[in-house]
Amino acid sequence: MTDLTRRTMLAGATAAAAAPLAATSARAAAPPTGKQVPSYYRYKVGDYELTTILDGVRQVKLDASPFRNAKLEDVQAALGASYLPKDAVGYYFHPTVVNTGSKLVLIDTGNGPGSIQSGTGQTPANLAAAGIDPKSIDIVVISHFHGDHISGVRAADGALAYPNAEIMVPAKEWAYWINEGTAAARPRACSRPSRTPSASSVRSPTR
């Protein structure tokens, strides 16, 4: 208590907010780590264990409205209402792993190894952090054929990212995008190379 009293008096004497109350040893704090925690999150759905995996966030500059039926100012107002910056939109990409007890299933694969520069393609790193071995994935279920969902089926070296997995794709999506007859009829806006899967990037179901 005497120590306390002395300290209190000292603190009182320095008064001004500019003078920190705490001990003023010359020792610097531990260096900042500069590192973020791995981005995954786990929860149960009944007996199933689900793991949400973040593939990353892509910041897209907001020069014009990205949405057909919304004005730029309306998009910016919506961002402002959520306390988000108005000059860019951060797009999130979250594949999900489902362990059903009998199968380990990956739903969608993220932007793939070619997108690391833009802040995505982190699915393999976050899977590893979550303790999930890509070789133990039994099934990859694809929701649709946009690049942010399918590009992760291949690793950086071109090999299959989930070598032991059956890759399941929506039959309708396959018929539409892969069938040469419908390819000719697709709208031009949807045929940008970055959004178009090549047939070779998707393994046909084996049975």
Binding site: A17, A18, A22, A30, T33, Y83, S102, M168
Partner: protein
């Protein structure tokens, strides 16, 4: 392709949704999946406030059946209705405990300490996680320079002690609110405190502070208690409760401690007086003052009892407020 077509036909043939769900579509090998991990991601999250690095480190969360008196001026039915609106089950209260670590560049500061590592085994790992998550975040407890205490409830101070009653942060100065110290260390106040919970609060904090020989440094409100960290008096929850503003450059975050408890009840309904608000009316006045400021200043709030990582903005909503969680940032 023919394979695909056959499958579609089969799916079509089984027509009813229920039939489909019962008959798994996929291969039926007898091999089991990889075993479930059964573990959550490490419980820490980092962000910058100007040049200051803030790490939210969870101590875990406690879930318990709440008493009829949990909120003095609201009935169980009203609490359950608010829980249902937030998609929580009835009659259960889930309380997260999320202290923060602030690296100011000059000082490594822990703000509040959690329920203590000793609760880890008792709670089967639900709480008492702070030391584990701190280590996972790459922070050495021996490197902590300052432990800054907001108020003297057990979930904020019990982590000052290791399970064997040693100092958790052997090299840290422990800063406590002067008003809190004056009130709770006063034997007269203790003798007048009602039996039951309030006596237990007094007994617990004296156990903790007596174990460390009462070696603490009281601080006043409106002081820069560490570089970039300023204390603010926010009384009501306890008599000497303080919050802390962490500021660097143009950035600020309001580390509120218990100005509100869980946001889905007490941010939405600032007029609700929970039993742990020692002076319910004063706590409400403080709550409204702080939250009006947070709205006006568009300042981020770091809430000790907000769900992890407990970082949000606040907007007005009806007669109360609503928190808007800050989106997860995978980089810092």
């Amino acid at each position: 392709m023919s394979e695909l077509t056959r499958r579609r036909l089969l799916a079509g043939a089984s027509a009813a949704g229920a039939a489909l769900a019962l008959t798994p579509f996929v291969t039926t090998s007898s091999q089991a999946a990889a075993p479930p991990a059964g573990a959550q991601a490490p419980g820490w999250y980092r962000y910058k406030v100007g040049s200051i690095e803030v790490t939210v480190v969870t101590d875990g969360a406690n879930t318990f059946k709440f008493a009829d008196t949990h909120v003095g001026n609201k009935s169980r039915a009203e609490i359950n209705a608010a829980l249902a609106q937030a998609y929580y089950p009835p009659d259960l209260m889930t309380t997260p405990y999320n202290p923060v670590v602030v690296n100011t560049g000059a000082k490594l500061v822990v703000i509040d300490t959690g329920t203590g590592e000793a609760t880890f085994e008792r709670s089967k790992g639900a709480t008492g996680q702070f030391q584990r998550n701190l280590a996972a975040a790459g922070i050495d407890r021996n490197a902590v320079d300052i432990v800054l205490i907001s108020h003297f409830h057990g979930d904020h101070i019990n982590g000052l002690l290791t399970p064997d009653n040693k100092l958790t942060y052997p090299n840290a100065e422990i800063l406590v609110p002067a008003a809190e110290w004056k009130y709770f260390m006063d034997d007269g106040e203790m003798s007048r405190a009602p039996a039951g919970r309030m006596q237990d609060v007094f007994k617990n904090l004296r156990r903790v502070f007596d174990t460390i020989g009462r070696k603490v440094t009281p601080y006043e409100p409106n002081k820069e208690v560490a570089p970039g960290i300023t204390s603010v008096a926010t009384p009501g929850h306890t008599p000497g409760h303080n919050s802390h503003i962490v500021a660097s450059g143009a950035s600020k975050v309001y580390v509120q401690a218990d100005v509100t408890h869980v946001p889905f009840l007490f941010v939405r309904h600032p007029d609700w007086h929970a039993f742990y608000d020692q002076d319910g009316k004063m706590a409400e006045e403080t709550r409204r003052k702080v939250y009006d400021m947070l709205v006006a200043e568009k300042m981020m709030v770091q809430g000790f009892h907000y769900p992890f990582p407990s970082l949000a903005y606040v907007e007005k909503s009806g007669s109360g407020y609503r928190e808007i969680p800050v989106p997860w940032n995978p980089t810092i």
